[in-house]
Symmetry: C2
Subunit: 405 residues, 2 copies
C-alpha cells in the first residue's frame, strides 16, 4: 500500500495506520476542535472532507469529538476506514483532499473523546511480581487471586488529559516510616506507569464475551498512569489506590483503530492454571498484541516494555469488567496496567527501575534518578507491526513535571 | 412557615424542604423529562413555571436534568429557592402555580443529574471497626491510616441508577474458603450499604478547602451501595473493591439542597488524633449532619443508622478528595460510606447485621436472612430536622432483588 501524501510511506503514520484524533488550529479562522486522521506529517480534516464529499457518515466526523464515530460501531468504522484508505491511497482524489490537509506540527491535539468511566488493570505478571517483592517481601510475589482474574479498579475519569498536559506534582498525605504520624506536602516519590489504553465505542447493557471484544472496542491509545508512590502506599489499605493516582492520567492523542492492529495480534503467554470459562481465549482469535513500548526521560531511553508479554489480554479484561452485569458506555476507557517485561530494561515504572528507590539509575546527562524531579519530561512511544513489514506508530504520550502548587 | 399546597405542612416535603428532582409523566402529552420540586403530595413543574413567569433563571430549570442548576452556583441556588419559597408559601401566587402542579404518585422519577465521577468513602468508625473485626480478626480493627484520612475509592459512575431500578443479582468470581480454586456464578452474599451521597455543583480546578464546602456542593441524596461480598472479598487484595460493587449503585430521586439542611448541622464526634491542618473543621462551621436513616427489608425495619455519628464529615471528604489537585466537575457524586452507629440496631449493612453471615436475623414474616434473597426489597429512608421542629424527609432509595441472568 502506498499513499500519495508526501512522506507518508515509511513514516509512523502510513496509509496502513490512520489513527483518529481531534485537533485545533490555534489562531486560524475557525478554532473549533475538529476530527482528523494523521498521515505522514499531516492531519486530514475529516469533518470538512466528509462534508465536502457528502459522505453518508459525515455526521460522525463533523463534531468536536470522536464520540459519534465511537458509538457508530464496527460496520461504520470499516466503511470510514475504507473510504479514507481509498482517498489517501489513490492519487485520483488528491485535488479533492489537498484543501483539507493541515501540517501536523501546526495543530494542537486535544483529548479526542469524552471519557465515561476509567478502569485501570494490573495485568503484567512481571510488574505485579516486582511490586509484590518490593511491598510484601515476606509473602508470595503475586496475590492469590492474580492468576484467576485480571485485577483492576476504577480511576478518576475527570482527570484523564491529553499528552502534553502539565504534570503538577501532587500534594498529599504520606507517612515516612521513620516518623510517628503522617505529614502533608508535595509527593517525594512521583512515578509514571507505561500502559496501553482501550477505548470503548459500542455500549453494552451487560456482559461482553471475550469473542465479542472487537464489536465494542474501537481502538488503542498510550497511557501514562502518573503515580505518587508515597501517597499511594499510605492510603491504599484496604480500599486500593485513590489520591496517589487521581491527580492525572495522560493519554496519547491518536486512537489507533483495532482494524489497523490486525497484524499485531499474537497469542498471549500460556496461562497456568487455566482461567474459568468466561475468561478463556477464543481459539484462533488471539488478543495478545505485539506492541513495542519505549519509555524515555529527558531524552534517555530507560526501558522497552513488550506488550506481548501481558498475562491478561484486553479481551479478557473487558469480559471480566462486565461479567457482573456492569454496563458499558461509549467512551469507557480501560488500561492494561503497567507493562513490564521479564528483563530489568523492560520495566514500565520507576518504582521497578529504581527497585523501590534503592537503586538509582542514570540519565544520559550523568544525573541520577530514583523518582521524577521537577522539570523532568517523560515520553512513552510505541509501535506495532502492520501488513508487509510496515511499522505503525501509536504516537506518544508526553508530560513534564511542574513543581507542586 | 406554611404552604398553601394542601397537605404540604407536616408532610415529608414541607415548604422548608423543596428538594430538586427530574420527573416524567408517562403517557402524558409531553413525556420529556422535566425538572421539579417535591412539596406535599405534589411535584411542581419548575421548567414550565419559570418559563411562564419569565424568571431570569428559567434556563437553569427548563432542561431535562439538574445539570444547569447544579453548575450555576450558590447565588443562583439561593435565588431559585427564595423564589420557590415565596411562590409556594404565599397564597397570592396560587392561581399562577396551580397549572404546574402534578400529583407525585403519577410521575416517574429519573436519575436527576449526569453523574461525572463517583467516589465512595468509608467514614463510619463503627462500620470500619466491625468490618475490620470480621475480616481481620487478628489485627487492629481499624487500619493504621483510618483516623488520619477519610479512606475512599472511585466507583463506577455509569452504573449509578435511580431508586427503583432492578437489582439484578450479579454473577462473579469468588472462592469458597473450603474449595481449592475459584468458581463463577450468582453472588451468594448479596448485601446493601446505607449511605448518604453528596452532589457537586460548582467545578473546581484544584483543592476545595473544608471552609469552601458549601460553595461547591449542591445537595444531598440517599445512596445504596449494593455489594456482592463473596466477589468483593476474593478480588479486593491489593487494589480494592471492583466488580463486587460496580454492578449497581442506587440513589434517591430527590436532591435536598444544603440550604434546607442548615438546622441539621451538628458538631462531628471528637477526633483523636487531631487531623492534619487541611482536614480540620472550621470552628463554628460544623459539617456533621443530624440525618436519621432507616433500613427496611420487606417491610421490617432492621436498623436506624445515625449519620451524626460519622467520624469524617463531607467537608473533610471533599477537601481530601481534591487535596492532590484533582479537579471537580459538575455532577461529581461522593458518598459517605456505610453509615453504622455504635449499637447493633444501628448497623448499615447486612454483613454487620448478620455478623458476617454467622448470626441470621429475623424479618417480620418470621423468615431468616443473612444476605439478600431474590425478591427481597430494601428501602432506605431518612429525615433531618428543619427549622422550628419541622421534620424534613430525604425521600427514599428502594430496590428489589431480581434473579441472576
Amino acid at each position: 500500500m502506498s499513499s500519495w501524501i508526501p512522506g507518508a510511506d515509511g513514516s509512523a503514520f502510513p496509509l496502513e495506520n490512520l489513527p483518529y484524533g481531534v485537533f485545533r488550529v490555534a489562531g486560524g479562522p475557525d478554532e473549533r476542535p475538529r476530527v482528523g486522521t494523521a498521515i505522514g506529517d499531516f492531519v486530514v480534516d475529516l469533518g470538512a472532507l466528509a462534508a465536502a464529499g457528502g459522505h453518508r457518515h459525515a455526521p460522525l466526523l463533523t463534531g468536536m469529538t470522536l464520540d459519534g464515530l465511537l458509538a457508530a460501531g464496527p460496520a461504520a468504522w470499516r466503511e470510514v476506514r475504507g473510504w479514507l484508505t481509498d482517498l489517501l491511497g489513490d492519487r485520483r482524489w488528491e485535488s479533492g483532499v489537498r484543501p483539507h490537509l493541515v501540517a501536523r506540527d501546526s495543530v494542537e491535539l486535544l483529548l479526542p473523546f469524552t471519557v465515561a468511566d476509567y478502569v485501570d488493570f494490573y495485568s503484567s505478571e512481571h510488574h505485579a511480581s516486582n511490586v509484590g517483592r518490593l511491598f510484601r517481601p515476606n509473602a508470595a510475589a503475586l496475590p492469590a487471586n492474580w492468576k484467576h482474574l485480571p485485577i483492576g479498579y476504577h480511576g478518576r475519569a475527570g482527570t484523564v488529559a491529553v499528552s502534553g498536559s502539565p504534570v503538577v506534582r501532587p500534594n498529599g498525605q504520606r507517612r515516612d516510616p521513620a516518623s510517628a504520624g503522617p505529614s502533608f506536602g508535595p509527593s517525594e516519590r512521583l512515578d509514571l506507569e507505561v500502559e496501553v489504553g482501550f477505548v470503548v465505542g459500542v455500549p453494552s447493557p451487560g456482559p461482553v464475551r471475550v469473542a465479542d471484544f472487537a464489536d465494542h472496542v474501537f481502538g488503542v491509545c498510550l497511557l501514562n498512569d502518573w503515580s505518587a508512590r508515597d501517597v499511594q502506599s499510605w492510603e491504599t489499605v484496604p480500599l486500593g489506590p485513590f489520591l496517589g493516582k487521581s491527580f492525572l492520567t495522560s493519554v496519547s492523542p491518536w486512537i489507533v483503530p483495532l482494524d489497523a492492529l490486525r497484524h499485531a495480534r499474537v497469542a498471549p503467554p500460556p496461562r497456568d492454571p487455566e482461567p474459568l470459562p468466561y475468561l478463556r481465549d477464543v481459539p484462533g482469535d488471539p488478543w495478545g498484541l505485539d506492541i513495542s513500548l519505549e519509555l524515555e526521560i529527558n531524552g534517555t531511553v530507560l526501558s522497552r516494555p513488550p506488550f506481548r508479554s501481558m498475562y491478561w489480554t484486553p479481551a479478557q479484561q473487558l469480559a471480566h469488567l462486565t461479567c457482573n452485569g456492569a454496563t458499558l458506555r461509549t467512551g469507557d476507557l480501560f488500561a492494561s496496567g503497567t507493562v513490564s517485561g521479564p528483563e530489568p530494561d523492560q520495566r514500565g515504572c520507576l518504582l521497578e527501575l529504581s527497585w523501590g528507590g534503592a537503586e538509582p539509575f542514570r540519565l544520559a546527562d550523568g544525573s541520577q534518578r530514583t523518582f521524577l524531579e521537577d522539570g523532568d519530561e517523560a515520553v512513552i512511544r510505541a509501535w506495532a507491526p502492520g501488513p508487509g513489514g510496515v511499522r505503525l506508530g501509536l504516537g506518544e504520550v508526553r508530560g513534564r513535571v511542574a513543581p507542586a502548587s
